[in-house]
Symmetry: D2
């Protein structure tokens, strides 16, 4: 299992008149979480696109448990429970506030697509090599 | 069952460098779909908030089947399959393009909350009265 | 002079915790205003990009006089005072609420750029042909 | 003169199909720049709102010189050239990329407003006290 954490400060623009973060903005927070998780592996999503592979989201599930507020310093926890074999990759992501309360929990499924043909491909080798050590032990 | 449809033109701001609508923006499209569905009933979400009831989203599930593109005139279909008895309401929502292709399908769960106490309440009477006729017939 | 109007309903996502439309969202409203102005001429910005010309914004000036609120049905007024000769086009745009109050006034300058070379070009011929009748009379 | 800098990583959501940051998103970047500038003074915009003062933007001018791209690590430079005496405060803000190139330059004017009465007020004393040392020398 691979776990990464990154922080995001809530922007004024991201609040709505309910005085909380608008529910649609968590998709951006999850995006930042995944991108920074990949960067912590020494690779980058930008590198991936430059190599001709993109990762559109094909499914998102999100539970909103508690609201986030303006100026909160959130922690986005990004978990990869299985090293994908094919074109499909599934992340579990969670958003916590500074008090350690779980605010939002999501599951996001993405595909690896060839940017030119827009057909399914698999995880680029450099990313797989960086991830493999997290999945080599028994039971992990 | 209550079904409503509304149209949304894709804005340039809503695209990303994959040349499609960013996955996080469908939450806004769904919001507009629900708001216009309520307006078609002769009520409005704004009226509801003015009466002291708000509807935060507590769960969203979304499948992204096909991309939407810049300037597409989308149809948002909003379906209420059950008239809620308590504080919970569940919508099924779908996004279609001009060729009638299903692009995105979502399930969104919201709660009725008292704005002052932030505790659970139920659907305001005027909205219930407007919705009831759609759920009175056998088999509907 | 060419003038076009279009309507936009304020989305919940566009409000912030000040209970008004976030100041950054007017750029989207202005974009929609320009796009619909071009469409009213029988052309479209999408057609323009498909023909290889894009229009990045190079300058924006915006005065915020009164706030817009959730669910307001705004009118975006888009004015072109001069038919551009070169690569530069300047729009004046205004946002009004349902009471006819002026909320926001902007000046937006864009360039016509060749999408392949990213160098300056001029207004595509079909758009110029559609606009010319508005600028032929004395004093217009 | 008071100058502060903060960094922002460009999100995928912030790009558009021109493969650059959408022009409307710089308002958010400027907002983050101002908020972090105030935080560097040991105060916070959130504190200010909690004390009953808010700062709506009343004017923005923005020149777009060069585009920002996905994943760029931008530097937002926020400059206050004059310590405001009344209800009006004016910031100059600039966005630079990692190569030190100036991408965008803006001037933003805000008012200090009493949140309850929505009438003009002045800069809260704690913020003024924190800023004053930057403006005490001759010629500053």
């Amino acid at each position: 299992m691979f776990i990464a954490e990154t922080n995001i400060r809530v922007r004024y623009a991201e609040t709505d008149q309910m005085d909380v973060v608008y529910y649609g903005n968590y998709a951006q927070y999850f995006e930042v979480g995944r991108v920074e998780a990949i960067r912590q592996l020494g690779y980058s999503y930008k590198d991936m696109e430059n190599s001709g592979v993109m990762m559109p989201v094909v499914e998102m599930q999100c539970k909103y448990l508690r609201p986030a507020h303006y100026d909160d310093l959130l922690t986005i926890k990004t978990m990869l429970r299985e090293l994908p074999e094919g074109h499909r990759i599934e992340f579990n992501q969670e958003v916590y506030n500074e008090q350690g309360k779980l605010l939002t929990a999501g599951k996001i499924v993405l595909y690896f697509l060839d940017m030119n043909t827009r057909t399914r491909t698999h995880m680029p080798a450099p990313l797989r090599a960086a991830l493999a050590p997290f999945f080599t032990q028994a039971g992990s």
